[in-house]
Amino acid sequence: VSTPRRRAHSTATSVREYARGAAGGLLFSLPLLYTMEMWWAGFLASPRRLLGAIAGTFVLLLGYNRYAGMHHDTSWTEIAIDSVEELGVGLIGAACILWLLGRIEPGMPMSEILGRVVVQGLAGAIGVSIGTAQLGGDDGFRDRPPAKADAARRPQSIWSHLALAACGAVVVAGNVAPTDEIAILGAELSGWQLAGLSAASLVMAAVVLHFSEFRGSVPHGESGWLGVVQSAVTTYAVAVVTSLVLLWFFGRFAGAAAGIVASETIVLSFAASLGASAGRLLLQS
């Protein structure tokens, strides 16, 4: 069902929306712009991997724009256009900041500039998307039905749960995924510590989802402790998959033994689980 905007925004309104997006992009990706491993990731990743990352981020943006808050009544065409804009703003913004920080310079070969801009731009695009939806007033949505009426008839599908959990996980875990600290923790933690960390991740997800009393935190409308357990397990599963994908992108698994792959994933999944539970509630509100 597509209900397109009845009228176009005024230019002032869209300038405000882009400013919010840019602020969000900076807010969520600034730690990464200041992270050395992120600059290196740009030339360590092969073109193939960068292409995969662009595709993955675009799918994430589509999911976020489809399911976050007020966007759910929008047509897929509009969602795709919004996602392209967010990706573009993220990439151009990242190029500007990297230039200001002296991380890209005119003399560099194209492949190195491109790698750095893409890696940072993808992180920025997710921030732009969140910023547009979350920061500031509601003037961008004046022409849409009020959010409250929407919330009542919003279908709490498993897809909405998964998409927002994955976005939250990427936003929070993405800030630490490229750092060497993950490799150090993965190599040094004992089996007991790792078991404790996964238990803590699950408990944290359950506690956040239960005590937030958020209506949509249970995917299938299941209530009581069974619903909380189900929701926590789903959330942790999303966190693990997101961590695997992030670590693979940053080249952590090349030549690594299965045990190291597992322990690094568990270490990152703690952060990803926080994002998939608490972060998700923030993104959705």
Binding site: T11, S14, Y18, W40, F43, I54, G88, V89, L91, M108
Partner: protein, 126 residues
């Protein structure tokens, strides 16, 4: 399919974004096809020599003409004249494919022509 209503600014941002993304995708695809994952191919050149407080600084440039990044690139410079030998070394964290990096080695005296040999002694494959 209903096209969303957008003002001129929004269409401009969309068009620029779409063009940037298309250009990036095309360039990455071209790099993927044109440059297979060949190993690093490094060469070192002496760029300049200058007097410094710590001795004579020789500026080196290492260039990677291969298809993949070399990490922890160790460069050795040997200066031999009149029976004496001085060694200088520098380690460069990353030399990405197609890129070059510079560093300096220091000697107590100014090396003459044919008295200085520079080479890459090893690197990591990240």
């Amino acid at each position: 399919m209903n096209m969303p209503r957008k003002n001129a600014l929004e269409w401009t941002v969309f068009a620029v974004s779409a063009a940037v993304i298309a250009a990036i995708l095309a360039t990455l695809a071209y790099h993927e096809v044109a440059r297979p994952d060949s190993p690093p191919d490094l060469r070192v050149d002496v760029l300049a020599t200058r007097e410094a407080a710590a001795g004579v600084a020789v500026t080196l440039r290492v260039e990677n003409r291969g298809g993949t990044t070399a990490a922890t690139v160790a460069i050795e410079a040997v200066f031999s004249a009149a029976g004496t030998t001085e060694r200088g070394q520098v380690v460069i964290p990353y030399v990405p494919a197609g890129s070059s990096r510079t560093g300096e080695v220091l000697f107590s005296r100014k090396p003459g022509p044919d008295q200085l040999r520079v080479r890459v002694t090893g690197y990591e494959l990240p």
